[in-house]
Amino acid sequence: MIRMIVKDLRINPLRTGLTALSMFIGIVALIAGVLVGTLGRDYLEAVNARLSGRTPTYSAIIDVTSVAGMQTTMTLQERLAHFEPGSASAQYHLNDLAIWASSGDGGLEIRHVAVTVTDAERTRVMPAPIIEGAWLTAADKPATLETVVNENARQYVHDGTITLARTGNPQQVPARVNGVIVDGADEPVIYVNAAALQRYWPQAWTPDGLTILVHPDAGVDDRHAKTALDDLLADVGAGSVSSWNRSDNADEYEQVIDFLQLGVIVTAMLLLAVSAIGMINIGLAGIEQRSHELLIRRALGATRASIAAQVIGSSVLLSLIIALAAVLISASLVWMVPWMMPADSPLEPPAYPYTAAMIAAGASVATSLIGSLAPAIKAIRLQPALALR
């Protein structure tokens, strides 16, 4: 029977090829639909994560009692680095920090750019691709006053350093620039290592507030994360959480992405349906062409079941071959995506949507089965007596 089925596929290579192509398009469209939806979601999440944190991120404003002391800050940083329910990063409010920049007449002037005093944990909450150098080092590691700048702040870096300033203070403090990141911000931003600032420029360490960004691990309830943070702050003696709000914007785009993904999948399903209708059409035309042959086969002893198996089998075998080819080709393309992505892409290399591929392959086989039923019924209804006519 297998031999007959394979022979059937070779009767009309063009027809087989076109049927295969329509199946291939249907399967790839379904896989691509899921992949595009997933990549779109990942992209929006990644862009959003740069600006307002991974999904979900909570912003805790701390009612500060004391973060002026070095020991308190060090202990707080160490505890935040090992925060159990997720990732947590501190952002200290030091409003009078600025930089020295060229004034245009050859001199220097204080330039008020965004200066964020933070820690090494920040990228675990607000990821940003490092396109040059490295991120800030851990609290107990910095050997010097260190910073990281975004692409827009690169202009202020000279010989690997940037000169920090305080409003109304003539002091010029050079700080090493560890690296350059893509943080998604449109303006220059300078990230200063809080522990290093406190250690190497204690005069500037006058925090008047503290915000802790928390990204709970998957499955961790945000109330649990808040309680854990409260306990941590109480242990360290750094105050308590006065305000706890979700700061990422995922809620705003998740529905849009879900809708778009649904739209793409529905389109792909429609393509599969068109493929099935095409198969029925081609199948019926094929049976019309082959009716004399099928009558001869019936006269020679083929049962209705064997005729049906032959008609359905060739269609299903073709769909299996095409499904396998479509999965292999799409997997290869997904595997190549990381090589095609730019270095500063906010996206992680996508994972192959195995579930979608399995569903697409299953849908293709089901489509071929349904699409070949009508031709098979027509074939088994042929009256063998006509073989002698």
Partner: protein
Amino acid sequence: MNGASLIRLNHLSAEVRLPGGGRLTTVNDVSASFERGTSTAIVGKSGSGKTSLASIIGLLNADYNGTLSYDGRDCAAWNDADRSRFRCRHIGFVFQNYSLIPHLSAWENVALPLQYRGGIPMRTIRRRAVRMLHTVGLEDRADSMPSRLSGGEQQRVAIARALVGDPDLLICDEPTGALDTETGDMVAAILFRQVQELGVTLILVTHDPQLAARCERQLTIDRGRLS
């Protein structure tokens, strides 16, 4: 001829529905028997009911009244699958216009009845098909496609296909009708020789009196009735 009755027809009648809604009697109260190993020609004019009778005897048409029995077994109770299996094992057909399957080679055409029988390894099937082609003088054309064969060669392939399964009954519908006289004579000679050697019961449907005369018995059919 061994005298044992292979097929019995008892008051067999069949009708076809006409496009206008009326009915046409194609086989009218036919009773006959066909002995094992004999050759019988069914002759008659076009539209006399020859092919209709042959299709009933060949179990291709189950829409009839009366009784048809093989080896004493009434076929009326058989379903479509039973009839297909019986055809596959016991009946060979030679059609008027060769009726070879165009995308199968000569040996693959000959092999079809054995493939539908099931349970025979492909190597054995091919060996038997090529051997049967050898008996009709076409072993060197085993891999040729039907389009590469002459009309006479195609009909010899069709004879090989009809005989490859060692059938008890061979039904030939105008086996030389599409061939010129010389080629037709050659094909008929092969057909009768094989039938004689294998002891097959032959029912030959023809309007060719010379071909019919080579059979042991002639039945004439007119408007569905045997005379």
